[in-house]
């Protein structure tokens, strides 16, 4: 593998770090599948790359559901493995939403990624994959990303009345909803 030392996110502020850490090499993803997706969606596909032997598509947020539909019904990616998010608070489009897809017939796993701003509500993927229901609820619970047109958009792991979203980077690992704990458990703090 060629040792390309190019950072994945070029817009990284270099103020606090004198030298950016090395990055895993990223190569363009070539083949029939990325070509047909690019042909179908044109500019909505921002990137089709392979990194560490795993291929992914970076997609504009408004096109995600139609890309998923295309992959599901035209390209036979019939299994949604996971939906998750990654928080980059210093970015304008704060969250990465990552969909991991697998196709039984092609025996291929790909990722579809998109970036959304904190005030945006991405479209729910439940109409395309039923699995997305609980997975998106968990993303909402942990990151506070509300999915539009989700049949049951509420918390899943934390109590419904809980305040705060623990996997956001600004939430400290010790942070908790003290009010909820006091009210419901009758103790000052769970720590």
């Amino acid at each position: 593998m060629a040792e390309e030392q190019k950072p994945e996110t070029p817009a990284k502020p270099a103020a606090h770090a004198p030298k950016p850490p090395p990055a895993a090499p990223v190569a363009p993803w070539e083949g029939e599948l990325p070509d047909s997706v690019k042909q179908q969606f044109g500019e909505a596909i921002l990137e089709a790359s392979v990194s560490l032997g795993q291929s992914y598509l970076a997609v504009k947020p408004e096109a995600v559901i139609s890309v998923l539909e295309f992959l599901r019904f035209e390209k036979d990616f019939d299994y949604l493995v996971d939906v998750t998010a990654v928080d980059y608070p210093q970015r304008a489009e704060r969250f990465d939403i990552v969909y991991i897809l697998y196709s039984f017939s092609r025996n291929e796993r790909i990722r579809v990624k998109t970036r959304i701003a904190a005030d945006r509500q991405p479209e729910s993927a439940v109409d395309v994959y039923l699995t997305a229901n609980w997975l998106e609820r968990e993303v909402f619970d942990m990151f506070g990303i509300r999915f539009a047109n989700h049949p049951d958009m509420k918390r899943i792991l934390l109590p419904d009345e809980w305040q705060g979203h623990p996997l956001r980077k600004e939430t400290s690992i010790l942070a908790m909803d003290n009010h909820w704990v006091k009210e419901n458990l009758g103790i000052e703090s769970g720590q």
């Binding site: 593998m1 950072p7 994945e8 950016p20 850490p21 090395p22 990055a23 895993a24 990223v26 990194s51 560490l52 795993q54 019939d78 299994y79 949604l80 493995v81 996971d82 998750t84 990654v86 928080d87 990552v98 991991i100 039984f104 025996n107 796993r109 990722r111 994959y129 039923l130 699995t131 229901n133 609980w134 997975l135 968990e138 942990m142 918390r155 899943i156 792991l157 934390l158 109590p159 623990p166 996997l167 939430t171 690992i173």
Partner: protein, 370 residues
């Protein structure tokens, strides 16, 4: 509740759990009933939420490894393997062949231990007490091997990023082979107790059907998917840790009901013995650790790696920002995703069947709630 509840004379909302022995932990299921018939369910989960993914962001890569054992605590070895493989992927290193053979041996032993616990408790839920004593007796032998190998029985922390911490002990091969010889006839013993047992069959056949199409829609994997006739196993489809070298079958069944899942898991245990025998016979000489730096700092990037855990696809999505701590670790637990199909499987069934269906999905709440 899936449909809006209107309480009339025939409808009843019943809380099952979280403190109910047949929910295998702290699962709460809100049942909407019409007499004995289930017309809708809602799962309430999260009672065991410990914020494992948040902890990961505040620990170094090596420090986080013991935490993953606490998710699916009956299959801790599988959890550890998945995490190590994901970090190794980010580091672009591979465990040496000797470490891989030991990893496969221990992981398959753990699959047997996990399936044994499932079998015992599932049978207990249905009303058969005897199998539990038998399965725990055999599971004990597996745990003894773990204890001799790494000092722990359940939360083993057996593997390290890049290979193994411990060399196998002197009689490891002998112990494992002795277990295999002892165990295979025991499977027949369980089958004698259950397979043609009239009560067992009447309680399981045709209960909790989830067809292949629905499995894919709900993302259900593992024995539940294979019982629906889909011959899919990550060990074969996307092999890891040298599984491609071993000769084994993927057991499947056709009827997609609770009984077929029992048949599939029983056959899986026998296949695991087959893999263990091959792996332990061919443990190559050589180092047990790949070249991994003392301070693990993977290059900036992200990777998703999944393994076939006893319960289905267990995946780790790890994002590195080039520092010593992971930027994000997402754990894709099989139980969490499989449990989502509970509502579909329970509709139209009887209350007693709900117990059987929860048992047949084989959930572990530690993994669902993380």
């Amino acid at each position: 509740m899936p449909d809006t509840t209107f309480l009339d004379a025939t409808e009843l909302v019943l809380n099952m759990g979280p403190q109910h022995p047949s929910t295998h932990g702290v699962l709460r299921v809100i049942l909407k009933l019409d007499g004995e018939k289930v017309i809708g369910t809602e799962c309430v989960i999260g009672y065991l939420h410990r914020g494992v993914e948040k902890i990961a962001e505040n620990r170094t890569y090596a420090m986080f490894a013991p935490y993953v054992d606490r998710m699916d605590y009956v299959a801790a070895v599988s959890n550890g393997l998945g995490y190590c493989l994901a970090v190794e992927k980010l580091l672009s290193v591979e465990a040496p062949p000797r470490a891989q053979a030991v990893r496969v041996t221990l992981t398959e032993l753990n699959r047997i231990a996990s399936h044994l616990l499932w079998l015992g408790t599932h049978a207990l839920d249905i009303g058969a007490i005897t199998p539990l004593f038998y399965t725990l007796r055999e599971r004990e032998e597996v745990l003894k091997i773990f204890e001799k190998y790494c000092g722990a029985r359940l939360t083993t922390h057996a593997f390290r990023i890049g290979g193994l911490q411990y060399e196998i002990y002197e009689d490891f091969e002998r112990d494992v082979n002795a277990f295999c010889d002892m165990f295979l006839p025991k499977v027949d013993e369980y089958e004698e107790l259950l397979t043609n047992n009239r009560i067992w069959r009447r309680r399981l056949i045709g209960v909790g059907i989830l067809k292949a199409e629905d499995c894919k829609q709900y993302g259900v994997t593992g024995p539940v998917l294979r019982a629906a006739g889909v011959k899919w196993d990550i060990r074969k489809a996307l092999p890891y840790s040298g599984y491609e070298k071993y000769d084994f079958e993927i057991p499947t069944a056709r009827n997609a009901d609770t009984y077929d899942r029992y048949v599939v898991r029983m056959a899986e245990m026998q296949q695991s013995v087959r893999i263990i025998r091959q792996a332990v016979a061919g443990i190559p000489e050589g180092p047990i650790m790949a070249k991994v730096p003392k301070v693990i700092k993977p290059p900036v990037g992200e990777a998703y790696v999944s393994i076939e855990a006893p319960k289905g696809e267990l995946g780790y999505f790890v994002v590195s920002d080039g520092s010593t701590q992971p930027y994000r670790v997402r754990i894709r637990p099989p139980s969490f995703v499989n449990l989502q199909a509970l509502d579909r499987m329970c509709r139209g069934a009887l209350v007693a069947d709900v117990v059987a269906i929860i048992g047949t999905i084989d959930i572990v709440l530690g993994e669902i709630d993380r």
